[in-house]
Structure formats: structure tokens, C-alpha cells
């Protein structure tokens, strides 16, 4: 495993790649791998505990009280570049 990474690292150096490029490539491929794994596993695991009863609503929600009172405003600033 170490030698494989070493070869890739050396190849990266040879191709004038930066450490950042290698980490970014590794990160993206790791995320894609996780997405594929979750997608495949979800196909094989379909037993799920029911937590909702929305299919059994016989008469929809009737509001008896409703109020919206403005309280305050907050502001956040982030410097762009």
C-alpha cells in the first residue's frame, strides 16, 4: 500500500503535480467511492423501521391558532477574497 502511494506520489512529482492536487484527487475519488458504496448497500438493505404515519392521515391538519411575531434581525458578514 505504501509503495503504491509512493509510486503515485513520485508520478505526481514527475508530472509537476502539487501535494494539493493529489489530496484533492484523493478526496474527490474517496467521496465518489462512498457514494457508490452507500448506493449499492441501500439496494441490498430495504428493511427500515417506520417512523411516520403520513400515509394514514384521514383529514389534514386544521390550525386552531397561528401567530408569527417578528423579534429581531441578525447580520453576518464574510469578506469575499
Amino acid at each position: 500500500m505504501f509503495s503504491v502511494l509512493n509510486i503515485i506520489y513520485l508520478a505526481g512529482i514527475e508530472a509537476m503535480m502539487s501535494i494539493e492536487t493529489i489530496f484533492m484527487s484523493f478526496g474527490i475519488s474517496l467521496v465518489v467511492g462512498i457514494i457508490i458504496a452507500v448506493s449499492l448497500l441501500s439496494q441490498s438493505r430495504t428493511k427500515i423501521k417506520a417512523s411516520k404515519a403520513d400515509k394514514y392521515i384521514s383529514s389534514s391538519l386544521k390550525l386552531t391558532q397561528s401567530s408569527d411575531v417578528y423579534t429581531h434581525t441578525t447580520t453576518t458578514k464574510h469578506k469575499v477574497n
Binding site: 503515485i8 484527487s25 465518489v32 439496494q43 427500515i48 392521515i57 391538519l61 408569527d68 447580520t75 469575499v80
Partner: protein, 356 residues
């Protein structure tokens, strides 16, 4: 008569309910009878005075094994009305197949009095279709090669599962922080302005027939997963629908199952209240609720169940016997998982090295 057996009105052979025709078919002469035919012949009536009951097993019950494949530690004994063989089965079994003569046997004492269901949804899908569905279902990319679905598919059993159906209302209120956000650029800054509102909602909604399985032997999550059933096809209970299938009666009473229905009702009620808060973000500060179950009904729902083992681990697969929805956690081949995720990831990694 110990147990109910449906006899063909033509030849006296045994009748079974057919999911395909929704009628009763004779195994021997293929004659078909409707519910009205059986009612007219008095076959659907249970004489509670003449009804025999189970016999308690003597000695250590753990030394017995059920003869019909049911899994239980609380076994009792019946006598098959057809061949006289002893059927050892779970105390809550309401219908089974005699393993000696292959005839359907209904334990009538389990569907009378307090155990009499209000409704039943008859099977709509027959075994051959279920077997095909299971074969298709089990062909997932991560299924191990040596998981032989052909070898286990014959163990599929059609079972009527007991369900409580709860109807009632949920009233509740939420207090939350409703936030509307606006983002704009000001010079070198990106500014996010959040306007906060104190939001209060109070209301109620009604639920009808929230199902909760009432058998301690069936996997609750599996029964939840095969929902929903189409209650439009539900009919008043008639014992004839059990002919040819296994059936369980409830062994968890309606009071003990209410918390599971309540949890689902409360979660949905909370969601419905939140939906009325039209803000970019809603943070719930307080949620009060009260569930009032006004009516509880008892019904039998059709399910095809397959219990099997793979590498010493138990697996349960279940299919909704009305809609055909199939669920279950298949065994996972970890070498396949590594292959299917590792190869694309490594190829992508190498590709990205040269593209970025």
C-alpha cells in the same frame, strides 16, 4: 371437529383459497367455489360449542419441535382433522398446513371470541409469482455468489399477520424560531441578513388505520417495511380466507402496541405543523402533543415470509401479499463491495491526477 377444513362441495377434497382467482379451489377436481357457495353450504360457520381446543404438551416444551416450521418456544398440540396426525405448533398459530397430509388446517379456537379479527386482506399474490420476485430481488450487485436463492426460495410461506389498526386524532402545538434569510454583497463583503420570528402553531389532524403488527414473533421493522396495504381491498373477516395459508393470532394486546402507533402519529403531526411555517429555516423550540386513539380494529394482513440462514446468520425476507412489495436485508459480499467501489475510485483518482 378439532379444526376447520374446507371440503369441496363436488368431491369432498380439500379446498384452498386461491390468490389468483380470489375463490376457493379444490386440490383434486379443480372445481372453484365462491364465498357465497361456501356460506350457502354452511362451511364458514364455526360452532363454538363443538370446537376442540389445543392440548398442552407434557414435559419440557423445549424438547419439542414444531411440525409446521413455525418458530416458537411456546408450543401446543393439535390433531389434524383430516389425517389425525399430531400437529405441534405455536400457541398463537391460527392456521397451518399439516405436514403429514399437506392439507390446510385452521385452528378455529384462535379466531373466535376475543381473537376474532374484524377484517382480513386476502392474499393477492400466489407463491409462483413470489418465488420469481424473490429471485429477482436477490440478484443485487453485492449479493454473494454462493447465496443460493433457488435452494431457499421453496421455504417461502404465506402467512396472515395480525395487525392492530389505530384510528384517532393528534392535537399539538409548536413554538419555533422562523428565520428568513437574505444574502447580498456589500463592497468586499457577503452579507447574510436573518430575520427571526417567534412562530406559534396549534392544530389537530386525524389518522385512520395506522397499522402495528401484533405478533411478537414477526420482525417489527420488516412488517413496517412492507407497508402500505391497500385498505380498500379489506373485507370483513371470514375464516375461509385462511385455508391454505399459515396464520397467527395476536399475542401482543392493543394496549401494548399503542406506543408504536403513537410514535408514528406524533412524528407526522410534528412534520405537518412545521410545514405550515413558511420560513427558510425553522428551529423548533417546543412541541406539545396529545394523541387520542378513538378506535382500534384487529385485522389479518397477508405476507410472504422467508426465514433462512447464510453463514450461520439469520435472514428474513418479506413480501406484502397484497401489493408485492419485497423487503429484506440481503447478505453482503465484502469483496464485491471493495471491487465495485475501489476500482472506480482508483481509476477516478488516477484520471483526476492528470486532469487537475
Amino acid at each position: 371437529m378439532a379444526n376447520v377444513i374446507y371440503k369441496c362441495l363436488t368431491c369432498g377434497g380439500d379446498l384452498q383459497f386461491s390468490a389468483e382467482t380470489q375463490n376457493w379451489t379444490c386440490k383434486y377436481c379443480d372445481d372453484v367455489f365462491t364465498l357465497a357457495d361456501l356460506d350457502a353450504a354452511g362451511q364458514n360457520q364455526i360452532d363454538e360449542q363443538k370446537m376442540d381446543t389445543h392440548t398442552e404438551l407434557e414435559g419440557d416444551k423445549s424438547q419439542y419441535q414444531s411440525t409446521d416450521g413455525t418458530i416458537s418456544k411456546d408450543l401446543v398440540q393439535y390433531k389434524c382433522s383430516h389425517c389425525g396426525a399430531e400437529i405441534i405448533t405455536d400457541r398463537a398459530t391460527a392456521a397451518t398446513i399439516c405436514v403429514y397430509c399437506s392439507n390446510p388446517v385452521i385452528m378455529s379456537e384462535q379466531v373466535v371470541g376475543g381473537f376474532s379479527p374484524d377484517y382480513v386482506i386476502p392474499f393477492r399474490i400466489d407463491k409462483s409469482k413470489v418465488m420469481d420476485s424473490f429471485k429477482a430481488f436477490s440478484k443485487k450487485p453485492l449479493t454473494p455468489k454462493d447465496f443460493d436463492c433457488d435452494a431457499v426460495v421453496d421455504k417461502l410461506q404465506g402467512v396472515y399477520i395480525p395487525f392492530w389498526l389505530y384510528s384517532g386524532t393528534m392535537s399539538g402545538s409548536i413554538t419555533c424560531d422562523g428565520i428568513n434569510k437574505r444574502t447580498y454583497r456589500s463592497g468586499d463583503y457577503r452579507v447574510t441578513e436573518s430575520k427571526h420570528h417567534n412562530v406559534f402553531r396549534d392544530g389537530f389532524l386525524s389518522f385512520e388505520k395506522v397499522p402495528v403488527d401484533a405478533s411478537s414473533k414477526t420482525d417489527d421493522d420488516a412488517m413496517d417495511s412492507i407497508e402500505p396495504y391497500d385498505f380498500g381491498a379489506m373485507v370483513p373477516f371470514n375464516i375461509g380466507y385462511l385455508a391454505g395459508y399459515l396464520a397467527e393470532r395476536y399475542d401482543q394486546d392493543q394496549e401494548s402496541c399503542i406506543p408504536r402507533a403513537n410514535d408514528r402519529i406524533i412524528n407526522t403531526g410534528r412534520d405537518e405543523l412545521i410545514k405550515t411555517c413558511h420560513y427558510d429555516d425553522v428551529e423548533v423550540k417546543q412541541f406539545n402533543h396529545d394523541v387520542d386513539i378513538k378506535k382500534t380494529e384487529y385485522a389479518l394482513m397477508p405476507a410472504w415470509l422467508l426465514y433462512t440462514k447464510y453463514k450461520d446468520k439469520d435472514y428474513l425476507f418479506a413480501m406484502n401479499g397484497q401489493t408485492g412489495k419485497f423487503i429484506g436485508n440481503l447478505p453482503i459480499s465484502y469483496p464485491k463491495l471493495a471491487l465495485f467501489t475501489g476500482v472506480p475510485s482508483i481509476l477516478l483518482f488516477i484520471l483526476l491526477l492528470f486532469l487537475l
